[in-house]
């Protein structure tokens, strides 16, 4: 499987090359984490909007109430 490219900058030297296996593992770890966090944020936003819809108010109006 072809791994994605990465850029390495050391002083004035710039090298563009394919990620090593270790670098790719770290990248996949970050990628999976980002996906999970994006899903959690989307779920939270959906739940928040559902509550706002039931109350019939906007997010700004809810912030005013809670502030």
């Amino acid at each position: 499987m072809t791994r994605p490219d990465t850029r390495i900058i050391d002083g004035e030297t710039v090298i563009d090359r394919e990620m090593t296996e270790t670098e790719h593992e770290q990248f996949l770890l970050a990628q999976n984490e980002a996906k999970a966090q994006a899903k959690a944020a989307a779920d939270k936003a959906t739940a928040r909007q559902a509550v706002l819809d039931r109350l019939g108010i906007t997010a700004d109006e809810a912030a005013l109430l809670l502030g």
Partner: protein, 238 residues
């Protein structure tokens, strides 16, 4: 031969180039020396120029330009010491860009500044340091759009990176202060970022006490950097 010139000669077609002409040209150029030792040995000997005020030189070992005051050599630049000294940087590319050998014993605290960052699709940009390969990072972020007073907060506990924020497909700027990445201690991060539509602040810690010499900025997905310049500076310890 002193360095002060009284004219800037222009040769006419067919004119004879004399030794005097050549000495004036060569003698007032900027000679390049490996070290201060070879510099000092290069003047005043047989068939060598006598060192005089205004003489310039370039030193390869320290990458600096110097001038002679008549009594001592002084550095023109670039600055090799100061309150804030650039230690690395460059142009972001692909999904990950690593800045190697930027952290050292010379500084405890670093400023990482990014400008004109453009990404192929919006997603959360992150930063990792080389000494930490696990999930020992924690970040808290707060962000607001410029059209709403609503503040949104997120927490990233047990993460593999510091969270910088979410750049847009148009230009984004950020600056992060990293405290003690090279020291064998936990590393703290203090970051702020602004895009065309929203602003972010994030605070984080990497509890891994391993020493780091490099850092990587990444977009953890199919997104890539279309542009972006990073400059990394060390804060003087005293």
């Amino acid at each position: 031969m002193p360095n002060e010139q009284t004219s800037v000669p222009l040769f006419a077609s067919g004119e004879v180039l004399t030794a005097q002409n050549l000495n004036l040209s060569a003698g007032t150029g900027v000679p390049v020396f490996a070290t201060t030792v070879t510099r000092d040995a290069a003047f005043g000997g047989t068939s060598e120029k006598v060192l005089a005020e205004g003489q310039l030189c370039y030193l390869s070992d320290s990458n600096i330009v110097q001038y002679y005051t008549g009594a001592a050599w002084a550095t023109v630049g670039p600055a090799t010491s100061g309150a804030l000294v650039r230690v690395g940087g460059g142009t972001l590319s692909t999904s990950t860009t690593t800045f190697s050998n930027v952290f050292s014993s010379a500084y405890n605290t670093y400023l990482i500044q990014g400008n004109d960052i453009t990404v192929s699709a919006s997603a959360t940009m992150r930063l990792s340091i080389s000494g930490s390969g696990g999930t020992t990072y924690s970040s808290n972020t707060i962000n607001m759009t410029y059209t709403s007073a609503t503040v949104t907060g997120d927490t990233y506990n047990g993460s593999g990176n510091f969270v910088i924020g979410t750049p847009q497909t148009t230009n984004t700027g950020f600056e992060m202060v990293l405290v003690s990445p090279f020291l064998s201690k936990a590393t703290q991060a203090f970051n702020r970022m602004s895009t065309n539509t929203n602003c972010w602040q994030s605070y984080g810690v990497d509890t891994n006490a391993a020493s780091s010499v490099s850092c990587t900025i990444l977009m953890p997905g199919a997104q890539t950097f279309s542009s972006g310049t990073i400059n990394i500076y060390g804060y003087a310890n005293s």
